[in-house]
Amino acid sequence: MTAARKISHTSALILQTVSSGYMYGFDIMEVTGLPSGTVYPALRRLEQDDLIRGSWEDEKEASSNDRPRRRYYRLRRTGKDALGNALKRYPLLAQLAPERSERR
């Protein structure tokens, strides 16, 4: 039921960005050009709808680098389905968020 729900172009763009390997809020903002006030509420909404899953970075890794833990977002299966449907509606979406070559 959730996967069949319509998603807006903005949500589809964020899904596509997450799917391309951009996993945290500021990364998504940089790629999409969307402001934080749009990206974060969208991430919460997509997570609430089970389209993406948010998880905290491993504590050991963060503390070994002496920095705070980040929250990463990954696509769920339902999210992939929703993105597939969205790409049919917005075929140029893939070009807006290119695959990530390396991860920071």
């Binding site: 729900r5 998603i7 807006s8 949500s11 006030g37 974060y40 920095r67 705070p68 920071r104």
Partner: protein, 510 residues
Amino acid sequence: MKPPRAIRGLIWQSALVLRAASLLVPRAMRAEWYREWHAELWHRIHFLYESNRLTPATRMELARDCWGSFADAAWLRFDRERVLHAAREIPRTARFCLGSLTLVLVLVLLGSGFAPTIRRAFASMPYSQPERLADLSFYGNSVYYPMDTLFNTVPVWAAKSATTESAAGYSWYTARIVTTNGSRGVVAARVSPVFFEVLGVTAAAGRVFRAGDEHECARCVVISHHVWVTTFRSDPSIVGQYISVGNKDRLVIGVLPPGFRFVSPETAVWAVTSPEAEGLNNFADHTGVVLRLRPGVTLVAASREYRNFVRAAGVAFGSADFNIDSISSRMRQGVHLYMLFTLVTFVGSLIMLSRHFFSAKAGTHLRAAGVMRWWAFFAVKTLLLLVTCCVGSIEGVRLFFLSASGSVPAMAGAVSTWVFLITTILALTWSLRDQRHRCRNCLCRLTHEAYVGVPGYLFLDYWGTELVCSHGHGLLHVPQMDACWLEENHWTELDSSWKPLFESEEVNVL
């Protein structure tokens, strides 16, 4: 995890903004929400610093991103769908419309101090036996004559009149009074010494004028209660002191009672001799005579007698004509006319709408309760608008002139009338248009305007706009131009089979 000195302040500032925004987040989610935002900003600031990209422009971007946390926090607190839906739908509802209009009316009433002019018009007259008082007022466009003519003639008329017990002349003008707080423009009046005696008014402090004061107390003034309170801070010792009126020192001999009003409630200073600054002439419509009729004498009889007096006076009053009316009628005349016009406009609007209602079959499918609701909404809405226009134009213009010049000039009446007429026409036009574009069932404003047809095919096909009720109750067809071969606004009721089309679909709108 201690950040370098150069970015420590930036991180501290962003943490402060995040802490403030986090107050919006529900308590259970607050800590995690803060951690995520803080980590993101921490990384962002370090990345910019380490890559030497921390410029004023990127700092500004950071600040913008930081403030975005408020939007994120707000949507965690409030249901986004519900808020957006409410923001879209509530302004369309009849309740919102009536609530807004009521609020505007309340603000107008509060702003004007609860419509003092209208209240005074309906309050009891502050005179002794007001039913025996009449007012002879002159009128004539730009006709003026020596002011003394009136004040010299009135005692002669009063002495030989068979219909009036006593009579007193009055004339009003603008003057400036100077106090320790500076000078201010006021309405001042010159009256016959027996003026207050004719009205049956006594002073709240000191005394009012009496016969002989034009010789014995020629430089005396009586001030209004309002001026005593606002300008002289209710100083009881003002009686017996000199104040400057029109650049001349005048002795204050009394303060009028609080409810007293005549000609204009703003009349602040009363004197028995001519104002020096204004010379000896005055416009006919700034003068008049107050008459105390003998018991049982009618206005017609008094009018007949005084017409003969004025005719006998010859050219003394120029080409000015006059009119005698009861004092209560004169004091209320303006407001009564406004009220009457408001009522006529209201009835007219009902007739105009009924033409649309019946000819356009707007309520064909409605039950009696629905029809009643539709009409009641229009009646209340229009009445609120008209009352707002009425109060706003009377009190607004008065306040405007009071704040601009300190007094209410004669032209205020004409300005107020024009403001009233224009605002009433605009309000009525809006009210009728708004009513036509509302759903016949739920009274919500119709939406989703669609332009239908082609102008070139006007003779062959329908050309107009279609609006639909967002709850799916019906469809309104509005022809693009009024013509005898085109239908007027036509309302099509949609049955329940259309319902699924209008059911709110949860769409992830961002």
